[in-house]
């Protein structure tokens, strides 16, 4: 199935800004995070699918747009 993956902030470095990617049916948001090795950069801060906040266990659907933001905690 096709999923549009959007990355933000440090997650874009050496990756991409937005890409349409192929995933198996039943793929979770966490699998997308794992395959892109995002947690090697920073823990996940924000996860949205189609503009709504969801949990990493969310099962992606054909045509979904997933947005991933690293955790930002400095003061």
């Amino acid at each position: 199935m096709h999923v549009i993956v959007k990355l933000f902030a440090q997650y874009r470095e050496s990756r991409f800004k937005a890409e349409q990617r192929e995933y198996d049916i039943g793929t979770t948001a966490q699998t997308v995070i794992d395959t892109l090795e995002l947690e090697s950069v920073s823990p996940l801060g924000v996860l949205m699918v189609n503009g709504r906040h969801v949990a990493p266990s969310y099962i992606l659907q054909e045509g979904d747009e997933i947005a991933l933001f690293p955790k930002v905690g400095g003061g």
């Binding site: 933001f69 930002v72 905690g73 400095g74």
Partner: protein, 261 residues
């Protein structure tokens, strides 16, 4: 002659200059804060607020003067938020941080300098803010904010500003403010990036445990000042009952984007 009459007679082009305030203090044996309060309460604008006037009405200026903001954390964000709120005319600040200035703070933290290294940030802030505006009242707390012990500080404030650098504590303070129905301004930075939210839970901004991206990307001065500006704007809007951020915001100074989350 009454203080008010004196002040009215000593305005210049409708504004009260510093020299007139000092003269009033001497003449009426009162402090600077009493002079400024009497002026603002009676629609006399101290000259220091002349360039606020087209943005903030004199009535709003008096509202700010009577307001109290609790700033938790006096590092990067807290130091600049405190100065901006002082200059705009907030009358009471509570600044809280158990940390002292260290050399690696010099790249970004307001009022850090070789002379203030080793000193409590909250104390240095108080001295500098009260020097900027002697009418300001600053309570400095040189302990780390403990939600269990210092929940009463939240009660004292009209608005709470999160200038902490610890995501877990940020979430705790946000939840405490929500429970107390206290307006709350969150801000955080990492490298070129920042995030904000006003009076909402931070659970959706901090999905996973662990250190944030700032451990990898650092805390540059321009991102600190940008984030502190947005937090200060939100604090003032809340104090004046203006519309504020309806949903979290992510700031990107690398590609100049502002994204609503």
């Amino acid at each position: 002659m009454e203080l008010l009459t004196f002040l009215k007679e000593h305005t210049i082009d409708g504004f009260l200059p510093l020299q007139a305030s000092y003269a009033a203090m001497e003449h009426f044996t009162c402090n600077f804060r009493e002079v400024e309060e009497t002026a603002l309460k009676n629609d006399i604008l101290p000259l220091r607020y002349k360039r606020n006037q087209k943005t903030i009405s004199i009535h709003e200026q008096y509202t700010l003067f009577q307001s109290t903001v609790l700033i938790i954390g006096c590092g990067g964000l807290g130091g600049f938020v405190a100065e901006m709120l002082t200059r705009i005319g907030v009358g009471n600040l509570i600044v809280c941080d158990g940390d002292v200035f260290e050399e690696h703070n010099l790249n970004r933290q307001n009022f850090s300098s070789p002379k203030t290294l080793g000193r409590f940030k909250a104390e240095v802030l108080k001295e500098n803010l009260e020097a900027i505006n002697p009418a300001l009242h600053v309570k400095s707390m040189t302990t780390f904010f403990d939600p269990k012990i210092e929940a009463n500080l939240i009660q004292e404030a009209d608005v709470v500003v999160d200038a902490l650098d610890n995501p877990d504590l940020k979430c705790l303070v946000a939840n405490l403010c929500l429970k107390e129905q206290k307006p709350f301004v969150h801000g955080a930075i990492a490298g070129y990036y920042s995030q904000f939210s006003t009076s909402s839970s931070l659970d959706q901004l901090y999905l996973q445990k662990g250190d944030g991206a700032e451990k990898r990307s650092g805390n540059p001065s321009f991102t600190v000042c940008f984030a502190a500006s947005i937090q200060s704007t939100e604090a003032v809007k809340l104090l004046l009952g203006k519309p504020h951020l309806p949903s979290p915001l992510m700031g990107n100074l690398w590609e100049y984007e502002l994204i609503s989350l």
